[in-house]
């Protein structure tokens, strides 16, 4: 009786090494594939707590989202929108946790030619306490320094008294998105 294997031992090693080489090259390529325009185009970074809808907001503001990777921020979604005269790049640090925001990764963000920051509060049930989110917002203001920071939320209520100039948007009804995009464009010379 013979229990013969599909591949001989050396063939198995060749097969596995080939699989690894293909996968590794592909993953490495996607990690280092950073377009030149990522650092040169005027950008708007969308920050906010986890599951606040940052990716959805970027998709609403500029639908053709692409992904790239950077050292400190891991995965960046970027999407370019043009009004015919100017181009603006909306950047979504998809896997980036706001709790990990520090001087080091702010430096990484500063490599981008950013002109504005949109801070999206999460007011959905089960989200982080609003006080914690406000602390995150203030920390963002402090770390980024002088920048056009636009706070937005889908419900204002409590936030209106605590955050100056906060804007109301609706990702479902798409309210306030065009005016948000226009004010971002207005901030770019």
């Amino acid at each position: 009786m013979l229990f013969e294997e599909t591949f001989s031992f050396p063939a198995s090693i060749i097969l596995m090494v080939s699989i690894i080489a293909i996968l590794f090259s592909w993953r490495l390529y996607s990690f280092i594939r950073i377009p030149k325009s990522l650092y040169s185009l005027p950008s708007v970074i969308v920050l906010g707590p986890r599951t606040s809808g940052k990716t959805t907001l970027v998709k609403e503001l500029a639908p053709n989202i692409n992904f790239s990777f950077s050292h400190a921020t891991k995965k960046l979604g970027y999407s370019i929108y043009s009004d015919g005269k100017k181009k603006v790049q909306f950047v979504d640090p998809e896997k980036f946790s706001l709790g990990k925001l520090n001087r080091e990764n702010v430096e990484e963000f500063k490599k981008l030619n950013y002109k504005s920051l949109i801070y999206l509060f999460n007011i959905s049930p089960g989200s982080e306490p609003i006080e914690k989110q406000i602390r995150g917002f203030k920390k963002t203001m402090r770390l980024f320094g002088r920048v056009n920071l636009i706070p937005v939320a889908t419900k204002l209520e409590k936030l209106k008294q605590m955050v100056k100039n906060i804007r109301k948007i609706s990702l479902h009804r798409k309210d306030g998105l065009v005016s948000l995009r226009n004010s971002v464009f207005a901030s770019i010379e």
Binding site: F3, E4, F9, I19, L23
Partner: protein, 159 residues
């Protein structure tokens, strides 16, 4: 290429070499444990002349050979390929945050892929072994992707 890009590339290439060497060790261990499973079950059913051949130059194959009495259950002899490989794979899942835990899927997938002949012996058709082979290949690709991704993220953190 500037100095920092060169050192990054060296780091990536050393990671590739590391992952390849790890995989060769895992493939060797899985093949041996796969054959050891057949060997142990054959031994249990008192089969004679049991031999594990890692590489037969005449047939370019790897196999376990034994002479068993006609009433020996073929099903159990064929299923012996999972006897040591499954616990071996499961042991990797204990390594919680270590990227090496994803070797569990690679080992299980690889075992299904090389066990094509064993499953064919059991089912007497080639469609089921073909499907399990595809599942095996899928598990290998998923496991290796997760493993490589985790290691690359570790490197990215260091840079």
């Amino acid at each position: 290429m500037n100095e920092s890009a060169e050192s990054e590339m060296k780091l990536y290439l050393s990671l590739l070499l590391f992952v390849i060497l790890l995989n060769i060790s895992i493939v060797l261990a899985t093949v041996v444990l796969h054959e050891a499973g057949h060997f142990t079950v054959g031994n249990y059913f008192e089969c004679d002349d049991i031999k594990i051949v890692l590489y037969d130059a005449d047939t370019s194959s790897t196999y376990t050979q034994m002479s068993c009495s006609p009433d020996t259950p073929l099903l159990l002899l064929a299923l012996g390929c999972f006897l040591f490989v499954v616990p071996f794979a499961m042991a990797f899942l204990i390594l919680k945050d270590n990227p090496m835990r994803h070797f569990a899927w690679v080992i299980l997938g690889f075992n299904l892929l090389i066990g094509f002949g064993d499953i064919e012996l059991l089912t007497k058709t080639s469609i089921i072994p073909f499907i399990t082979g595809i599942i095996g290949l899928f598990l290998i690709v998923v496991g290796e992707s997760l493993l490589i991704n985790k290691y690359l993220l570790l490197i990215e953190k260091r840079l």
